[in-house]
């Protein structure tokens, strides 16, 4: 019997669409009844089926409420409006028999009120199964996009840098539970009497007792349930629902093993990397900035390419440009000035092996979006290097095998985005020429790598 009731209850979402369809059909016919003969009779016939299917819906709906663990508060309004819709249908049916006590009411009252009540009832029903904001969420997203609401950007995400300061429960465990458990265990729907929407609720447990066992964590009901094979009836989440991933199971396991703390952070707990790694959002660091530039003028590019420079977008179809003077050993600073026509588009320039001198820095500083500059095998000494501090995106700077004066490197302190600088000189070691802060030393590659001879190598040579 229990199973039958459960089954009938679950039929509710299916059955309800019958009276909805019938009512809409009856209304359509009612609004164009002048086109048909004997429309009244047909409408009445349809309304009879509305009453029959509607009663059945009401019954199955009540069964579903009792069997599935919904809170009365959630279904209350849907339930009453369902009854009102059924009564209105009954009223309309009686009205159509003519000469009854209801015929004092204007005819238009029934179709209009039926239409309104079926819309509201249906919507409330939808809210229960799909969630309150199911229908309105896309609209909200639309409006926030439209109004350029930036609040979304503030959404918290766990990443490599911030994870150690975050509490294990609220930053990792709670989001998993709310994704995979809370839809059945919440204040509105409380299957097995268990609510999992908050830390306190989880501690309280369900009708079968506590789910977290602090004395013997491994025997916690929560763990037992998620570890049962999927075929077991007691396995959670139920077979038909979205399952926990292995990483999620491991993490919940860990959380309970360390005593299901609420406030302790991942750092305090000293969580192992492999446990937390799947939950860290990988930050995709783009090497080149998003500048939203227009397509560069093809004629200008044509003229640059015809001079023998290698000019190429960073990838096919991109508007950011890279230039190399590899095939132009005589290229000098004056020629570089001619490239100012693509000032904004140029993000990477390779002037290695060219004839540029220290005047190059002045010109380079006028290309505001440069990310990478290569000046290897040139005559630069680094005088005026400080001018490059104007380049806010500059990340990588290469000055290998040059006449570089090590003292000029202190100017790098002022570079806003600099990440790596290569200054290896095969003929001398410029680390000896200069004193630099540890921060700077960390980003400068001085080179001078050696592989000392080992004893067995000395013997053989």
């Amino acid at each position: 019997m229990q199973y039958f009731l459960d089954f009938m209850g679950r039929l509710h979402p299916l059955i309800v669409h019958l009276p909805i369809g019938f009512i809409l059909l009856a209304l359509l016919l009612e609004f164009s009844k002048n086109k048909f003969k004997e429309a009244d009779k047909v409408v009445r016939f349809i309304m009879l089926w509305v009453i029959l299917s509607g009663s059945f819906s009401l019954l199955s709906g009540y069964l579903q409420y009792t069997q599935e663990g919904y809170l009365w508060k959630t279904v209350e309004r849907h339930f009453y409006l369902g009854i009102i819709t059924l009564l209105l249908s009954l009223g309309f049916f009686i009205f159509l028999r003519n000469r009854t006590f209801l015929n004092r009411i204007p005819r238009i009252f029934f179709p209009i009120s039926l239409l309104v009540s079926i819309i509201i009832t249906g919507h409330l029903g939808g809210n229960i199964t799909h969630g309150e904001d199911h229908l309105t969420a896309p609209l909200k997203a639309f409006s926030s996009d439209f109004l350029e609401d930036k609040s979304k950007a503030k959404e918290f995400s766990l990443n490599e840098r911030n994870f150690k300061e975050q509490p294990l429960y609220s930053a990792v465990v709670a989001p998993i539970l709310s994704k995979k458990c809370v839809s059945c265990h919440n204040t509105k729907r409380t299957k097995g009497g268990l609510q999992m929407h908050s830390f306190e609720a989880i501690l309280k447990g369900g009708k079968n007792g506590a789910v977290v066992n602090f004395d013997n964590p491994e025997l916690s009901e929560l763990l037992v349930r998620i570890h049962l094979p999927e075929t077991e009836k007691k396995h959670m989440p139920p077979k038909s629902k979205k399952q926990l991933t292995k990483a999620e199971i491991r993490l919940i396991n860990y959380w309970i093993e360390v005593g299901a703390p609420e406030k302790q952070t991942l750092g305090q707990l000293g969580i192992k990397r492999e446990l937390i790694a799947p939950f860290l959002k990988k930050e995709e660091v783009k090497f080149y900035p998003d500048l939203g530039l227009d397509t560069p003028d093809p004629e200008i590019i044509q003229s640059i390419a015809s001079k023998g420079l290698i000019i190429s977008p960073v990838k096919r179809g991109a508007n950011l440009l890279t230039i190399s003077t590899l095939n132009l050993p005589e290229f000098n600073t004056t020629q570089l000035e001619e490239l100012l026509v693509i000032q904004k588009h140029l993000v990477s320039i390779d002037l290695s092996y060219s004839a540029v001198d220290d005047s190059v820095f002045e010109v380079l500083s006028q290309f505001p979006n440069l990310v990478q500059i290569k000046l290897n095998q040139t005559q630069i000494t680094g005088k005026d290097l400080h001018l490059l501090s104007r380049l806010v995106y500059l990340k990588k700077l290469y000055m290998v095998e040059t006449a570089l004066n090590g003292e000029t490197l202190s100017a790098l302190q002022e570079f806003p985005s600099i990440e790596q600088v290569f200054v290896f000189q095969p003929d001398r070691n410029i680390i000896e020429e200069v004193e630099l802060s540890p921060d700077l030393q960390a980003i400068i590659e001085f080179g001078d790598a050696l592989l000392p001879l080992l004893t067995n190598e000395k013997e053989s040579d």
Binding site: F287, N327, N376, Q420, F422, A449, E457
Partner: protein
């Protein structure tokens, strides 16, 4: 019927290619069609200005550099291939359990139904012929045969469970470089130069350097297959003339040579105007290239100018053909913008059938000759910032068995291992690759991969990915269907990507 139609269409396209250079460009050169369509659509719109066609330069120079379809992590590749298949069990894949089984008969269940190149009957197991220590900050295992490599172990990502379905050298090498164990497909370096061109006008885009001997599969390993022949690898020798027959004969001055080449090219161009065969254009640009290479190649191939300590670091042997020389040359070449440098070092086939093939003898010499130059190469690339946008790949065509080889059923007198395709170690280093990382694991005796297995195709897909290609979309139409390097396989090994 479909196939016949495709073949007819291809034939027509081929004829049209002969007729018009423009057509050749649109159809034959990678992605040109798409870009052409893009610019065509652009021209329909009023607001967006027409984009520059970067591929137009390929009309006159099939090696003109092209941007890849995706943002690349690296611009160049140095591929170090240890021909003959080095033993992973003596270099990187530490298996203490195997030591306990040393000289005990191999359990029948391990070899049942398996085919080996030489092993017959029941071989004995062979414990690791090396001692291992954790090296670097990453604490990854490196054997005592590679003392210098320990200095750079934190730069590389190991792939410990690479597998191949070939157990003979030639086919396995072909599979590694052409995606097919049979002849006829373009090599990895050819695909790359076809897709990206070459930056340096005076140097070939795809250079091959060999030491110790020619690899078993021969020149097909750097062949162009069905791609235009300009994309084949140029084999440079590190001893004697770098490129054979490139030097002017006695009594012929460079000026005279220039005139000769000019005349030949004029005649060739007339031939081209008559028949419109793009291979003639290839020939013209190859003559031009050869002329320029007469100066530039000896210059880049000359390691004498390098400072003494650099030469010492690599352990070069000037005037001789050596792997160390080739490693230094590889650095010099990528520094000058060569796209793909392929090194083959022959002599790693440690069966134990002769002294040079024994793990206790010849193998140790090979290790010593490889350890210093490879470590020096990584250090040198790093200090020059070249490791930022260069990919270094190290590997063999397959691995070696945890069993002591018993050729014809009798245990080899010297210590050696047979071929094994099921699991072997490779590593990658450079731009876009995780530092000090290990992906994949073999079982307790190193016989089979148990996790993180990657195929030869996965390696190829990853290399193309780093260069900015989606290996599934990088194709060339031939014989009625689009071909790709990875055929129908391949998965980018995202686990080792930074």
């Amino acid at each position: 019927m479909d196939n016949i139609e495709k073949l007819i269409a291809e034939r027509k396209a081929f004829e049209a290619r002969l007729n018009s250079r423009r057509h050749f460009l649109k159809e034959c050169t990678l992605g040109l069609g798409g870009i052409a369509l893009g610019s065509l659509l652009n021209s329909c719109a009023f607001t967006t200005p027409k984009a520059y066609d970067y591929t137009a330069s390929r009309a006159l120079n099939p090696m003109a550099p092209l941007a890849p379809p995706l943002t690349p992590k690296v611009k160049r590749v140095i591929y170090l291939h240890m021909v003959g298949a080095p033993s992973q069990l003596e270099l990187f894949d530490y298996k203490p359990e195997l030591e306990k089984l040393h000289n005990k008969p191999c359990p029948a269940s391990l070899i049942e139904g398996k085919e080996f190149a030489f092993i017959e009957g029941v071989p004995n197991m062979l414990g690791p012929q090396a001692t291992f220590k954790k090296a670097g900050d990453s604490g990854n295992w490196v054997s005592n045969h590679l003392p210098h490599f320990k200095n750079v172990v934190d730069e590389v990502s190991f792939l410990k469970a690479v597998y191949t379905d070939q157990f003979n050298h030639g086919p396995a090498q072909l599979l590694m470089y052409t995606g097919s164990a049979r002849f006829g497909r373009p090599s990895l370096g050819s695909w790359v130069t076809y897709g990206l061109g070459s930056e340096n006008n005076n140097l070939p885009g795809f250079v091959v350097l060999t030491s110790g001997g020619t690899p078993d599969a021969g020149k097909s390993l750097w062949g162009n297959g069905f791609l235009p022949s300009i994309y084949q690898g140029v084999h440079c020798r590190s001893k004697g003339d770098p490129v054979l027959y490139l030097k002017d004969p006695k009594g012929i001055s460079r000026g005279l040579k220039r005139k000769v080449i000019q005349s030949i090219n004029e005649i060739n161009y007339k031939e081209f105007e008559k028949f419109k065969d793009p291979e003639v254009l290839t020939r013209i640009s190859q003559y031009e290239m050869a002329y320029r290479m007469q100066v530039s190649v000896p210059e880049v191939m000359n390691i004498d100018q390098e400072p003494a300590y650099i030469k010492e670091m690599y352990g070069v042997k000037p005037g001789k053909e050596s792997f160390a020389n080739n490693c230094l040359l590889a650095r010099k070449m990528v520094e000058k913008g060569v796209r793909f440098v392929q090194l083959y070092d022959w002599g790693w086939d440690s069966h134990g059938a002769s002294e040079s093939e024994a793990l206790s003898k010849g193998f140790l010499t090979k290790c010593k000759d490889m350890d210093r130059p490879v470590s020096a190469l990584l250090l040198d690339l790093k200090q020059r910032g070249l490791l930022e946008d260069t990919l270094v790949v190290w590997g063999g065509e397959f691995g070696r068995t945890p069993m002591w080889e018993n050729r014809a059923g009798i245990q080899n007198s010297l210590i050696g291992r047979d071929h094994q395709g099921e699991a072997f170690t490779m590593w990658m280093a450079g731009g876009g690759i995780k530092k000090g990382y290990v992906h994949g694991e073999t079982d307790e005796i190193g016989f089979r991969g148990v996790s993180g297995r990657v195929s030869v195709y996965d390696i190829q897909a990853t290399i193309l990915h780093l260069l900015g290609f989606n290996h599934e979309q990088f194709t060339f139409d031939f014989q009625g269907r689009p071909f790709r390097l990875t055929d129908v396989e391949g998965r980018v090994i995202h686990e080792i990507l930074a």
